[in-house]
């Protein structure tokens, strides 16, 4: 693997990730998640009552809504929504709650590149914090081939202006299997394989981020006693 000499990001991998749990008070679990300057809010509800037309006795019905920063969702957003829904349907342990619905709402706050991957990672964190049963957690990584033929992992918006090809991969946390592949542009099979390997290794960083933030959230709630009495920031926390 030759990721060390490729692109300026491939050295340190992803842009900085931050998250804040439960910024919304009325959902069953919500998270504000950012990768670099790209920010998304994800909220989950579930298990909740389902419309009869979507009711399934085998498992729960998964609903996913994606809202762009401004205006109504268009075709582009619908495609993103469908991709996220597909990944979630693979990951959710739907037989745990038959005849119910799990609903995920995603609100884009700022798109500064890699929004697909960022939205998927936010969705996963929201599911984790909402306590919905999952078969595995998942992480998505975006990567491009720029004009010089270099690989850039998790690119900024400015870097994607002159890209030759872009890739989004999602992996599961247990076997590292591919859950989603989205590609755009022209590339060679060898490049595809290289980028898949790079993204797979970078996804480990995201999984460890999930673990540390969840651990922090729980330890914080357990020993909240420490002179933190700011009313609003009692439950939500920043990392």
């Amino acid at each position: 693997m030759n990721n060390s000499e490729n692109g300026k990001h491939s050295k340190e991998g992803l842009r900085e990730m931050r998250c804040k749990f439960n910024p919304l008070s009325r959902s069953d679990g919500s998270v504000m998640f950012s990768q670099g300057a790209t920010v998304v809010i994800a909220a989950v509800l579930g298990p909740i009552e389902v419309k009869t037309q979507n009711l399934s006795i085998e498992g729960s019905y998964m609903e996913c809504n994606y809202r762009p920063k401004a205006g109504l969702p268009q075709v582009k957003e619908r495609i993103r929504e469908a991709a996220i829904k597909d990944v979630l349907e693979l990951a959710v342990l739907s037989e745990a709650y038959p005849r119910a619905k799990m609903s995920l709402q995603l609100q884009e706050l700022e798109d500064r590149g890699s929004i697909d991957a960022c939205a998927l990672n936010a969705a996963c964190l929201a599911m984790l914090i909402g306590g919905l049963p999952l078969k595995y957690s998942f992480a998505a990584v975006h990567c491009i081939i720029n004009e010089e033929g270099e690989f850039v992992v998790d690119p900024e918006l400015s870097e994607t202006k002159h890209q030759r090809a872009s890739f989004t991969f999602a992996f599961d946390s247990v076997d590292g299997n591919l859950l989603l592949v989205q590609t755009k542009g022209a590339f060679k099979v060898a490049q595809f394989n290289d980028i898949e390997c790079i993204c797979r290794s970078v996804s480990a960083e995201i999984f460890s981020f999930y673990r540390t933030t969840i651990a922090k959230y729980h330890s914080r709630s357990a020993e909240q006693s420490a002179a933190t009495k700011e009313q609003s920031s009692g439950l939500p926390m920043e990392t």
Binding site: D28, R99, P133, S173, I214, Q231
Partner: protein
């Protein structure tokens, strides 16, 4: 349990449980499931263990999932034939038969209307059928269950509900030192309180809601504040 807390993530094999399971039967609580001969987590959070053999994954879930034997507060939604539909905050509305009340007969129906509050026990909780409630114990006595009249009702997190219901919960003992009141706590994150006056009831509910953000050490302080507020 006081030792290092292990955080489990969905899909992870939990070998700690498997080791115990070799020697004796174990009980897998929320967030753990058996896949063939492996124990796998399905939620993220710290793994908890209660002697001798119970394991579960702790989480700050906000959605109530009914379990048999739980005490819940429900709101009557409608009456359907010889059933009442009750909203208990779960995925499905629960049902309660009009015969599941003390001294109820076919002639002598309980007088419940949509909007009434009910303190009930979950009799039946299965993912495939709607939950069923009762307001009597196995001897046909109502005990503390039944309709909640007057008072004030509010929602809180599931954790606060469980905290108040815990044996030797410091909050309730501290509050009873301040003023006399009635309280019904449902594990579905719903609380009903009633004190002598409206003023006391509101103060009490504010104190309980303040506990939500508080740690164990602040409980005494909040509860004694309540006394000061009411005297002022």
């Amino acid at each position: 349990m006081a030792t290092k807390v292990t955080i489990v993530m969905p899909g992870e094999r939990v070998t700690a449980v498997e080791d115990v399971a070799k020697g004796k039967r174990v009980i897998l609580g929320p967030g753990l499931r058996r896949v063939d001969d492996k124990v796998v987590a399905s939620k993220a959070g710290p793994l908890r263990h209660k002697e001798p053999n119970t394991f579960w994954v702790d989480s700050y879930q906000r959605r109530y999932v009914p379990a048999r034997g739980d005490l819940v507060i429900g709101i009557i939604r409608a009456r359907a034939g010889d059933l009442y539909r009750v909203d208990i905050g779960a995925a499905d509305t629960a049902s309660i038969s009009y015969l599941a009340f003390e001294a109820a007969t076919k002639k002598n129906r309980p007088d419940l209307n949509p909007g009434d509050l009910l303190y009930a026990r979950v009799l039946n909780a299965n993912a495939d059928i709607e939950p069923e409630l009762v307001c009597v114990n196995s001897n046909g006595k109502r005990g503390k269950l039944g309709m909640l009249q007057d008072g004030f009702f509010f929602k809180c997190s599931l954790n606060l509900g469980r905290l108040l219901l815990r044996e030797n919960c410091p909050a309730l003992t501290a509050l009873t030192d301040e003023l006399p009141f009635e309280i019904a706590v449902g594990v579905n994150g719903r609380i009903w309180v009633k004190a002598h006056s409206m003023r006391e009831t509101v103060g009490l509910s504010n104190a309980i809601m303040a506990l939500e953000q508080a740690g164990y050490t602040e409980i005494d302080q909040i509860c004694s504040n309540l006394g000061d507020v009411l005297q002022a």
